[in-house]
Symmetry: C2
DNA sequence: CCCTGGCTGGGCAGTCTGTCCAGCGAAAAC
DNA sequence: GTTTTCGCTGGACAGACTGCCCAGCCAGGG
């Protein structure tokens, strides 16, 4: 299949171009995308269906900027958890709106979470809310000053499309 | 204006409901959204325009899952940078597709970046590519095991809408 | 050599979008 | 108290898109 059929998983060049196009101009529809990519509309539709079915594209939810919501300060906190209390800590952190994401990482029950706050002063309140919970032994916070590379995926998509 | 007009910035309850709705069902259009929210279509359209203009909603780009692309391993790396080489390091990291985001943080030219890799073994290759660059003094990597709270924004949106 | 699977190009009905408009009600300004 | 301003409503229109269907073509796999 020289036309670009895939082999079980991964994405091909057309998939990559489609994703990149959608990332740059999310408002365009299937029809316009097919024009830009130089393929039939049905092809784009089929590719999109497959990409969603495979889970490559999770969805097209709104990308909300915390700063525009009034939370311009971002920080990362490394947490050290007391053995056995991981589940409680997870539940606690999940209940805090300012915790945007939480990961458990290698290294003795450590967790890493991303926080936002209304100001540097407000960050103190958030941190207190986060760490003021039994089970958290120690917390180290790093405040974000600059964000040279905002969360992105396109370069990886292009690499994945290239490596077929 | 008891109807929900905003006061210069921030979002009101209707904005919050709209964002939440779009987050849950991104495929619905303005018309369907207006039905669900119980307001006129023009209102939804106006709110959406304003939210985009304010930067609250950056866009509706596709949410791509790195794991489905063949990169199921995530890690966070803390980098210590040699004074004065920050710009070079930023450029270098920006050129690595596996670097999904990069932040500079408080604490002596430190940086924090999110990495993905095809496997734990592959992670070694990625890390070598990342830290194999003059200017990076030291690197500490934490591999993500679990992700109890995936990147989210809705709880914060609801809080912001509540606090008006 | 036939079959399978993907892509093409076309068509159709239903629906949504973008964009107007007049009117209304309430807060804000005077 | 009165006027102005602003957001929301409800309706209308043409244009465009979507979801869905189909026959035909082509190349690789069996």
């Amino acid at each position: 299949m020289v036309k670009g059929g895939r082999a079980g998983m991964g994405i091909d060049a057309l998939d990559g171009r489609l994703i990149t196009l959608l990332d740059r101009e999310p408002r365009i529809g299937v029809l316009e995308a097919s024009r830009r990519l130089g393929v039939a509309r049905g092809t784009v539709q089929a590719r999109l269906d497959r990409l969603r079915a495979q889970g490559v594209i999770r969805g097209f939810g709104p990308q909300v900027d915390p700063a525009a919501l009034g939370y311009p300060v971002t920080a990362f906190a490394t947490l050290e958890i007391k053995q056995g209390l991981g589940a409680d800590v997870r539940a606690h952190l999940a209940s805090v709106p300012e915790v945007l994401e939480l990961h458990t990482t290698t290294g003795e029950g450590d967790m890493l979470c991303r926080l936002v706050a209304r100001s540097n002063a407000d960050l103190q309140r958030v941190i207190d809310k986060v760490v003021g919970f039994e089970g958290i032994v120690r917390a180290a916070t790093a405040i974000v000053m600059e964000n040279p590379v905002p969360l992105r995926i396109i370069p990886l998509v292009e690499q994945a499309a290239r490596d077929v």
